[in-house]
């Protein structure tokens, strides 16, 4: 009797949950210069990368959830969805202002122990905006940061174009010194930042890497904004125009 064909039973281990949140500005100005198109393209492009990256962490289940904020804030996906089966529904810019404070408040409800469960790892939160907050941002942020889980979370911000309020976005960041808000001046950069923030930071949350300087490198180095000789993944558009 040959036994090579018999697998041992089992497979599948108990998993921890990783949640990635995208908070997306849908104010009117996002309709201009193809910003919203770029956001949609970037998220669509990052999903397969996140799926393949998730395979490297068989003991972690990755979920994603997107939020829109403009006139108030609402979840684009009513609940966090598994990355394996996630399909991106495009978001449109609205005739709206930039209620970032409302976004902070809405997110605060998700960073509770009941919502994140008993087996979690630090959530990754990516804030995307092209403008000035129009409501009580500081108040909303305070409520967010009051949550015990906020302290554990990895929060980064991406400023889209020159009009974004970098100082305000900095207040949101969990590590504003080493990873201050990225300023995306064009679509290529925006796509790169969204990908990096989603993939590299979720990998860091999954298995923190440490360097040999004795210190703990809590986060990987952000991508260079302009490398003189950047030998990179082919981008199918060579359009480098500034918005």
């Amino acid at each position: 009797m040959a036994i090579d064909s018999v697998p041992i039973i089992g497979g599948g281990v108990s998993k921890r949950e990783l949640k990635i949140f995208w908070l997306i500005d849908v104010s009117g100005s996002m309709a201009i210069d193809g910003k919203m198109t770029a956001v949609n393209r970037a998220i669509k492009a990052v999903i397969p990368e996140l799926q393949s990256s998730a395979e490297d962490f068989p003991d972690i289940q990755t979920y994603v959830q997107a939020m829109k904020f403009g006139n108030g804030a609402e979840w684009h996906n009513s609940s966090a969805e598994k990355i394996e089966s996630y399909v991106w529904r495009e978001i449109d810019a609205e005739q709206a202002v930039t209620d970032m404070g409302a976004a902070m408040q809405l997110l605060a409800h998700e960073l509770t122990e009941e919502k994140l469960g008993k087996k979690a790892i630090p959530p990754v939160i990516i804030l995307l905006s092209d403008g000035q907050p129009t409501d009580n941002y500081e108040g909303g942020l305070e409520e967010l940061l009051k949550q015990r889980w906020s302290k554990k979370s990895i929060r980064v911000a991406i400023a889209i174009g020159k009009d974004a309020d970098e100082e305000k976005l900095k207040m949101f960041c969990s590590n504003p010194v080493e990873i201050p808000p990225f300023v995306a001046g064009n679509e290529t950069q925006l796509v790169k930042f969204i990908k990096w923030a989603s993939v590299a930071l979720s990998r860091t949350a999954s298995t923190p890497a440490i360097d040999a300087t004795g210190g703990v490198a809590a986060v990987p180095t952000p991508p260079p904004i302009k490398a003189e000789v950047k030998i990179g993944e082919a981008s199918d558009d060579t359009d480098d125009d500034v918005w």
Binding site: M1, A2, I3, D4, S5, V6, P7, I8, I9, G10, G11, G12, V13, S14, R16, E55, D56, F57, P58, D59, E113, L116, G117, K118, K119, A120, I121, P122, W149, K152, A205, T207, P208, A209, I210, D211, A212, T213, G214, V216, A218, P220, T221, P224, A227, V229, K230, I231, G232, E233, A234, S235, T238
Partner: protein
């Protein structure tokens, strides 16, 4: 040569200068990592992989280290070792073998997407131990052994070890690498530098995860920790690690419903395997030099495991013949809850008891059992040297129900019957395996008895 513009190298057909006037032609982008990007390339007629470093990693020490590794050469074929440094406009990368598609991420084992049976997993662990043994012999250290760098061919258990650019001389640390949480030795978690001793810890963690699927330190503490962040990992992997089966402290035992893989498998593997891991994960926590098993010890362990596997006569799941277990429990039984032989006494499989001087090894006889040279000689540490098949099972052409052992070696074996007759088994001939045989002499200083 014209200046390289952003994204230019990626264009199919871009040619980088290589040694001896050759060209390294970019064919396709494969993927990006923390330190650089990897491309499929053609160098002469060979298809290879090129790793090109990001700006941050373009360091002269790394380049020198790569050249040193190339001079030393690959420990064995299981490593996708640097073959040549490629330089262009003050920047560099290196080429290595391209990983064939049948080699899959070892993590897929843990989420059940690929499966290894006892035999293939023993083969994979054996290869791992032997590969790192050969890497450590010339004084090198890998520094970041973790499952992300290991690829497995699930049908054979053959392995490939990637990311060899961080390999360094034991005690040096060129790339500034410390390792990966969950695999690092506790002293590295606490800020120490990786070296060959810390490799041996990480190797044990990796093999444990391949054999038991769960993590050696993730027991009750893991279940009780809501947020498994860096602080928690530093505490439980660095400051106060506690093996889930620490014999004198059960407070971190695996939890049913959460860590069922290890609960099941800890019972399935023999005591000698449990003992090895227990040693590394208790004594080895604080005694890097003597508390962590040498690769040679692991080789013995996995060879022994390979020799002792047989299929359940009812359901065919692989079962390990384990003398200690038989002594303790009075029987061998099937571990498959769905099998009619579950926890029942199974007939003991036929086996050879091979004696080499004072040493003894028990080889279970299945229809596809083969004997290798290393099993019949006093010491054969290296797999390559221990390689050739010297015997295989053979059916008697007159009665296929009757099994024998074919001599594939160059020696003329003999066997002695119970009545004292001595018979020859010349190369390519097969001898019967019956109760009537007292002893086989393989003419290698090894003799064997048949246990039926």
């Amino acid at each position: 040569m014209s200046k390289l513009k952003e994204g230019e190298l990626i264009k199919n057909g871009f040619a980088l200068p290589a040694a001896g006037g050759m060209k390294c032609v970019i064919e396709e982008f494969i993927g990006g990592g923390g330190q650089g990007e990897v491309y499929r390339v053609k160098l002469g007629s060979e298809t290879l992989a090129l790793k090109w470093y990001f700006e941050d990693s373009q360091k002269s020490e790394l380049k020198a280290s790569l050249k040193n590794l190339i001079n030393i050469g690959a420990p064995n074929d299981n490593f996708l070792w640097p073959k040549e440094v490629i330089e262009y406009e003050g920047k560099f990368g290196y080429v290595m073998g391209l990983r064939p598609a049948e080699y899959q991420k070892s993590q897929l084992l843990v989420n059940g997407k690929i499966n290894l049976n006892f035999r293939t997993v023993a083969h994979a662990c054996l290869q791992l131990a032997d590969s790192f043994r050969l890497l450590h012999i010339p004084g090198l250290a890998y520094q970041d052994i973790n499952w992300g760098n290991l690829f497995i061919n699930p049908s054979t258990g053959d392995i490939l070890i990637c990311d060899n650019d961080n390999v360094t001389e034991h005690g040096k640390n060129v790339a500034g690498i410390a390792g990966t949480y969950g695999f690092m030795a506790p002293e590295v978690v606490m800020g120490g530098l990786p070296n060959a001793h810390t490799d041996m810890f990480s190797l044990a963690v990796l093999m444990f995860r391949m054999l038991f699927l769960d993590h050696p330190f993730d027991g009750k503490r893991w279940v009780d920790t809501a947020c498994w962040d860096q602080a928690a990992q530093k505490k439980y992997y660095g400051q106060m690690p506690l093996f889930i089966y620490n014999p004198s402290d059960s407070s971190n035992n695996p939890v049913a419903g959460e860590q069922d893989n290890v609960i099941l498998r800890w019972k399935m593997y023999p005591q000698y395997i449990r003992d090895c891991f227990t040693k590394v994960f208790t004594e080895g926590l604080t005694d890097p030099e003597n508390g962590r098993l040498m690769e040679e010890n692991w080789l013995d362990v996995f060879r022994r495991l390979q020799e002792s596997i047989f299929p359940c006569p009812y359901c065919e799941v692989p079962i390990i013949y384990d003398v200690d277990k038989i002594k303790n429990e009075g029987k061998i039984s099937c571990w498959n809850p769905k099998c009619q032989g579950y926890e029942q006494k199974l007939p003991t499989p036929p086996r050879l008891r091979i004696k080499i001087g004072k040493r003894e090894r028990i080889v279970v006889l299945n229809v596809d059992t083969k004997l290798y040279h290393y099993q019949l000689v006093k010491s054969a540490p290296s797999l390559k040297e221990g390689g050739p098949v010297v015997a295989e099972m053979a059916q008697n052409p007159k009665d296929p129900e009757k099994w024998g052992l074919r001599n594939l070696s160059n020696n003329n074996w003999t066997f002695t019957t119970n009545s004292g007759d001595i018979k020859d088994v010349n190369p390519d001939k097969a001898m019967p395996l019956t109760k009537n045989i007292k002893e086989i002499d393989f003419k290698t200083s090894a003799t064997a008895e048949i246990r039926i």
